[in-house]
């Protein structure tokens, strides 16, 4: 039966070796606030993380926790005039991109850092062919080349993204392609400038599961070939478990826990992460009587409590949690969490100050 198994691409597929290098992206105390008529919405409030070359970092959390605003801030595309980056530094290849003038950002976007959005239907222009749109983007990166050369490059990149018959596909309009194909085109445009960091904001949420499996494998292959770092934003724990090496768990604008993926799933430290993991139903487990569920709602971002933001839903809440925001505690494996419960435990040492 195996001889007929050609249709499963699994045949000649191997899980690519991860080759993780030096730090590419270093984000320090990043804060993006939105100035709205309801008040100051603290969408991103004090983010610290690093991404290494060839690594996949997941950002997980519920809607409204600041995941997408983080991504937009990294590209300096947060909606103006409401959004302002009030503090922080973003070092990309050792250079703080927040200090660049706006008109130079177009050389950073696409060539150093680029992004794949959730919905491929809205990231492509419906009135231009795929080829047209790709040549336009490629023209930015290869200014000296002729149209013809750019078109060949577009075909080449589409082939790398697993688009069948790319010579014909460049003449198609977006509506002539399926969702999975369009997302491949968007992916092709995102990697065309050979960026160092690729941000994927829920790239497979709009796709079917079998197409999602194809796309995730493709992203891994692209990463193995080019060594690009991927920041993977999602709320799907299955995708995180599959794709990421490390992950940040965000809650109400803050990273409450970060660490390698196994520890996060098997041995989480923050009560929110614990609750989140427990509330995901498993398809491997036999009949469960009741799923664990987190009662209540996250706080509104324009009306945040002074203490821990998870306090009103936390099982282990103490008076201290309500009064002061907990500091970050880190252990030797590079795992860290913001929670008062870790205070005084031998393996955890305090790395930031409380109440900030």
């Amino acid at each position: 039966m195996t001889s007929q198994a050609d249709n499963y691409q699994a045949e000649n597929y191997y899980e690519p070796e991860k080759n993780i290098g030096e730090v590419v992206l270093d984000v320090r105390d990043l804060r993006t606030y939105l100035y709205t008529r309801w008040g100051i919405t603290k969408a991103v409030d004090g983010l610290n993380f690093q991404v290494r070359a060839g690594e996949t970092l997941g950002i997980v959390g519920e809607s409204g926790c600041g995941k997408s605003m983080t991504a937009l801030t990294l590209l300096r595309l947060a909606p103006k005039p409401a959004a302002r980056i009030v503090s922080g530094e973003i070092f990309l290849d050792g250079e703080n991109i927040l200090e660049r003038p706006e008109n130079e950002m177009r050389f950073v976007r696409g060539q150093k850092i680029s992004m794949i959005l959730q919905d491929p239907m809205t990231s492509l222009n419906p009135v231009f062919t795929i080829g047209n749109q790709m040549v336009e983007a490629l023209g930015m990166y290869y200014q000296e080349e002729q149209q013809r050369g750019l078109r060949d490059r577009a075909v080449d990149i589409l082939r790398r993204m697993g688009v069948a018959a790319p010579e014909r596909r460049v003449m198609d309009f977006p509506h002539q392609m399926s969702g999975g194909m369009k997302q491949r085109v968007v992916g092709a445009m995102a990697i065309a400038g050979t960026p160092r960091v690729l941000i994927c904001d829920e790239p497979t949420t709009a796709l079917d599961v079998t197409i999602q499996a194809q796309y995730l494998r493709l992203l891994k292959q692209v990463q193995a070939e080019s060594g690009v770092s991927i920041i993977f934003i999602t709320h799907d724990m299955g995708v995180v478990a599959k794709m990421c090496d490390r992950a940040l768990v965000m809650y109400a604008g803050r990273v409450v826990e970060q660490g390698d993926i196994r520890t996060l799933f098997k041995n989480p430290s923050h009560p929110y992460t614990k609750a989140l993991m427990a509330s995901v139903p498993s398809m491997e487990e036999k009949h469960v009587d009741k799923l664990y569920s987190i009662e209540g709602q996250p706080p509104a971002l324009f009306d945040l409590p002074v203490g821990c933001r998870f306090a009103n839903r936390c099982e282990f809440v103490t008076d201290k949690c309500i009064e002061t925001y907990p500091p970050s505690f880190a252990n030797e494996q590079g795992h860290s969490a913001d929670c008062w419960l870790l205070e005084g435990q031998s393996e955890w040492r305090q790395v930031t100050e409380a109440g900030v």
Binding site: M1, Q4, A5, D6, N7, Y8, Q9, A10, Y13, E62, S63, S178, G180, M181, D208, V209, T210, I211, Q212, A213, Q214, R217, H235, D236, M237, G238, V239, V240, A241, K242, I261, R262, F265, A275, L276, M277, S279, V280, P281, S282, M283, E284, E285, K286, H287, V288, K290, L291, Y292, S293, I294, E295, Q297
Partner: protein
């Protein structure tokens, strides 16, 4: 334990015409959305339909809700032929069968108060006084974990999870026998999903209502469903009790679908099957077994003959030439 059959679909088919031209609409083909499927839903139990987009899950739910008429075939609720109901019987049917949709932002009218939204199905279809209807609303709000005082609010004053609770309450208003749940939790956040899934399960026990669950998340299905039918291009390719199916997938498509579903476990060592290509068009579906163009085990017979539905284990049905 053999529960009695609540709803039965026999040889159910829905074809949509594909037309050409503006005035003289010439029919040039048919979208075979649902093609000769059979299933039963037992009283107080859940049947889940799983499959990718375009496989006919939602069309099946619409046929049950009478939002579409079947091309051929029959649906019977208890003893009544659903698509031949009229008058009072039809009104009764509309209270016996209700629905909860995916997106609680678009399924609740923003201009109506919660109590009017919830009681609407009752007021339209049955003779009740306003007092009776509002008492029922208060009772249901408490049942779905909200407060009776919230009845006078508008939908925008609720969060996503609470809105889905309202949608469930309005589905329960006529004391239904069957609720069609079309992706009831997929628009919600993870922590809210668990709340709604627990609620749906509690309400099923409390009101002994049957569910037709349309979902693509296999973990959700495992938690909620008693029986699962896997659909591909308008056909049911495999059907079994939930635990039997999850432990013992037989059809190659089911195997691929299950292997593509990701588990929240970074060490999960499951066989990974990735299918080539995409779901073909339901306008001209492949001959024989519709899956044969993507199937890794395809044989000559697969493109020629439509596989028969076989019962390989008690209650476990598969349509595949391999067995």
């Amino acid at each position: 334990m053999e529960q009695d059959v609540l709803l039965q679909a026999t040889d159910l088919t829905k074809y949509f015409p594909v037309t050409k031209g503006l005035v003289l609409q010439k029919i040039i083909g048919w979208v075979q959305a649902v093609d000769h499927i059979n299933f039963t839903i037992r009283r107080g139990q859940t049947l889940a339909l799983v499959g990718e987009s375009g496989c006919g899950k939602t069309t099946t739910a619409k046929l049950i809700l009478r939002l579409e008429r079947p091309t051929t075939g029959q649906i019977t609720l208890e003893t009544a032929d659903v698509h031949n109901l009229e008058g009072e019987e039809l009104k009764q049917y509309h209270t016996d069968v209700s629905a909860v949709f995916q997106d609680p932002w678009s399924s609740l009218s923003p201009r109506m108060r919660v109590r009017d939204i919830i009681s609407e199905a009752l007021v339209v279809n049955q003779k009740v006084t306003t007092k009776e209807a509002y008492d029922r609303v208060d009772y249901l709000l408490e049942s779905v974990g909200l407060r009776a005082q919230q009845a006078t609010l508008y939908p925008h004053e609720f969060s996503g999870g609470q809105r889905q609770r309202l949608a469930v309450a309005s589905a329960l208003v006529g004391n239904p026998k069957l609720i069609c749940l079309d992706e009831p939790v997929s628009a919600l956040d993870v922590s809210i999903q668990a709340q709604i899934m627990n609620l749906l399960k509690d309400l099923q026990d409390q009101f002994n209502v049957g569910y037709l669950l349309v979902a693509h998340n296999l973990a959700t299905v495992r938690y909620l469903a008693h029986e699962v039918a896997v659909m591909y291009l308008g056909e049911i390719v495999e059907q079994a009790e939930t635990d039997e199916l999850y432990d013992n997938t037989l059809h190659p498509y089911t195997k691929a679908l299950f292997s593509a579903a990701l588990t929240a476990n970074p060490d999960s060592q499951r066989e990974e099957i990735i299918l080539r290509g995409e779901v073909p068009s339901p306008i001209n579906p492949p001959s024989g077994c519709r899956f044969h163009v993507r199937c890794p085990y395809a044989m000559d017979i697969c493109s020629q003959e439509i596989p028969e539905r076989k019962e390989l284990a008690p209650g476990h049905f598969v349509s595949c030439h391999l067995y």
